[in-house]
């Protein structure tokens, strides 16, 4: 497996440096922060969506229960999928801006600075 082509775009450290960065405490911290947010959140929204889809397919009588005049559980549940999508988007953007971007920028500056 030696025909891996190296497409460098200039200003890069040699290949060994990437492994050093990868093992550095800052980078380990960044990766942990990213994964600790996105993995559980992905599991959550897929489970929440599947719950909705399964109820729609197999519990349509439950979904048809009316809460107020013609507004039934199915409609509210569906609209909650919109709400949860918007809320998760907001939470992630907030988290990324505050907890991910500063660390990522610091590491990037170190890498690109060292290569110059």
């Amino acid at each position: 497996m030696t025909d891996v082509e190296h497409h460098r775009t200039g200003g890069h450290p040699p290949d060994d440096e990437w492994e050093k960065v990868q093992a550095s405490p800052d980078f380990v911290n960044l990766r942990r922060r990213l994964r600790v947010f996105v993995f559980p959140m992905t599991v959550f929204f897929i489970a929440w969506y599947l719950l909705y889809v399964l109820l729609a397919a197999y519990a349509s009588d439950f979904m048809a229960i009316k809460l107020a005049s013609n507004i039934n559980i199915g409609l509210v549940f569906g609209l909650l999928q919109f709400v949860s999508t918007f809320v998760i988007t907001g939470l992630y953007v907030n988290y990324a801006n505050q907890r991910l971007d500063p660390v990522a920028e610091k590491i990037r500056a170190e890498i690109e600075g060292a290569a110059k």
Partner: protein, 543 residues
């Protein structure tokens, strides 16, 4: 989706009150304005980065609007409105899958992809693998998804000609399809990604503004009482009554239709993040942070748009009525145009009809540039020329020739498939994206041990399994709504293969990986560090 299947059930009559000249005029104005913008944009298109990625100079909000323009196809506008008007709640289920899917992109794919790739999906999949086999596989998958999606759009466009322009003769419809195809080719050839993006932005603004105006109009007529609107939709004669409000009117018929729906729902949610034309849009912004902002804007616009379709669908049921919708040319797809006619007369109908054509134009342009970029960059430049060429302009030249060939194929396919039931092609495109592309992308970005063999197994395995299951499904043979209803060679019970093909592809990717000894820690370290930090990422070009 299902919308396209109803869309193809043509009737030989014309909507009363339609004014073809007016509709042509409004659509012609759209084409003229976009062509001027495309030609202006093309003056700065010189390098491969300009042609494929618009010089990475679009802002997050601009790209987010363009993503909405790329993603909201005619099927999701006319199809979902019609499905809600006729089947009520079940039409709404589609739109939720299409929206939630964007979280996969936001959390797992968009930013990391922007940081590691240049122009195509193949850039990311092949980053730490042996270049040539993986790029070839990525290109085949990209071309397959784009071609299925393109054919479905063009065939749907053919059916719309009668509905929206009142043209019944076959030759006349073919001429309109060819004209739409030629305009699309001009956008892509001259405007490249920048021109295509502007077409998508303009179209998205018109589509969302038109839907907003109609939604407000419908709500004003009902005193902003949504429950009252629902009551009116239920009370209309010839409809499904109370069944409109709960799920099940369309999918709840049998255990099999429920399972089929489940399979579709999973493919929709996991397929979006693997659609090559969506992925490619993330390269048009300068940084990962702008890619994140793009997705935020796209989620907001797409979400709001689907809320509009909910009001428009029930509005069409209440104000137009299911009997008139079903008997109009285009069936369910006529719901939104008929509602426009009922609300604002021929002028609003003309606007909505023009927007529907603009929608097809923008979506096929996005697909064509994606497919041509993949062929030129992955196959020609990296596989055939092995990543080295003395002639700087040759890659873009190949991309333009490819776009021409794809455009011609799309016109021909659109004309031939006009009378065919090819609705399964969109489901197929999403299933292939979710099966062949998504596992490979996620493994590449998050699994250290993943290697060339694993990538090839998940791409080719996912592609083969998905296509095989579709060919032997009731969507192709053995049912009344099949593409070939007269014969029956189906043995797979579901029209949507996702339920089987997606888990199987993830498994194949794992199996292929562990069966191979290949490890490349250095390249993996480079990819991981670059994907998370943006170090060494492709920068915007200054003009």
């Amino acid at each position: 989706m299902n919308g396209t299947s109803i869309l193809l059930a043509q009737e030989s009559q014309v909507i009363e009150g339609i004014n073809p000249l007016l509709n042509f005029g409004i659509f012609g104005a759209f084409v003229l304005v976009t062509l001027i913008i495309v030609f202006r944009a093309s003056r700065n298109t010189k390098t491969a980065s300009d042609y494929y990625a618009a010089g990475r100079a679009f802002s997050g909000p601009q790209n987010g609007i363009a993503i909405a323009g790329d993603y909201l196809s005619a099927a999701s506008f006319l199809g979902i409105c019609g499905a809600i008007a006729l089947n009520g709640y079940d039409g709404f289920l589609y739109s939720i899958g299409f929206l939630v899917a964007w979280l996969v992109s936001l959390l797992l794919v968009a930013e990391l992809l922007r940081n590691t790739g240049k122009f195509t999906m193949g850039d990311v999949l092949a980053f730490r693998m042996r270049q040539r086999p993986v790029r070839a596989a990525a290109a085949i998958s990209t071309l397959a998804v784009s071609f299925f999606y393109l054919l479905a759009q063009m065939a749907g466009g053919g059916a719309l000609v009668n509905l929206l322009l009142g043209i019944q003769s076959g030759a006349g419809q073919n001429a309109v399809i060819a004209a739409v195809g030629v305009v699309m080719i001009i956008y892509v050839l001259f405007g490249g990604m920048k021109g295509t993006t502007w077409v998508q932005i303009i179209k998205a603004v018109l589509l969302i503004a038109g839907a907003l105006a109609m939604t407000v109009w419908v709500l004003v007529l009902h005193g902003f009482n949504f429950s009252g609107l629902l009551a009116e939709a239920v009370a209309v004669e010839g409809g499904k009554g109370e069944a409109l409000l709960a799920p099940g009117a369309q999918y709840g018929l049998s255990a099999l239709t429920k399972l089929d729906f489940l399979s579709l729902a999973i493919a929709l949610v996991l397929g979006t993040a693997g659609l090559p034309h969506v992925l490619m849009r993330f390269y048009t912004v300068p940084t990962a942070k702008e890619a994140r902002r793009s997705v935020v804007w796209a989620i907001a616009l797409i979400g709001i748009f689907y809320l509009f379709t909910l009001v428009l669908g029930y509005g069409a049921a209440a104000l137009v009525g299911p009997e008139q919708i079903s008997s109009a040319p285009g069936g369910a797809n006529s719901a939104a145009p008929l509602l426009a006619l009922a609300l604002g007369g021929p002028l609003l109908l003309g606007f909505i009809a023009a927007v529907a054509f603009a929608t097809i134009l923008a979506v096929v342009a996005g697909l064509t540039i994606t497919a041509s970029a993949s062929f030129a960059h992955d196959v020609y430049f990296n596989v055939i020329k092995k990543g080295k060429t003395d002639d700087k302009g040759s890659e873009v030249r190949v991309a333009r020739i490819t776009a021409l060939v794809i455009g011609a194929t799309a016109i021909l396919g659109g004309i031939l498939a006009k009378e065919q039931n090819v609705a399964f092609l969109v489901a197929l495109a999403f299933a292939v994206a979710a099966s062949a592309n998504l596992p490979t992308i996620l493994y590449s970005l998050f699994w250290k041990r993943f290697n060339t063999s694993g990538a090839l197994w998940s791409i080719y395995g996912g592609l083969a399994v998905t296509i095989t299951l579709i060919v032997f499904s009731p969507a192709v043979s053995g049912s009344e709504t099949a593409m070939i209803p007269s014969v029956d060679f189906h043995w797979f019970p579901l029209a949507n293969p996702g339920l089987v093909s997606i888990p199987l592809s993830f498994f194949l990717g794992w199996l292929g990986t562990v069966l191979s000894q290949e490890r490349n820690a250095k390249k993996q370290a480079e990819m991981e560090v670059r994907s998370l930090t943006g170090a060494g990422a492709e920068k915007a070009t200054a003009h």
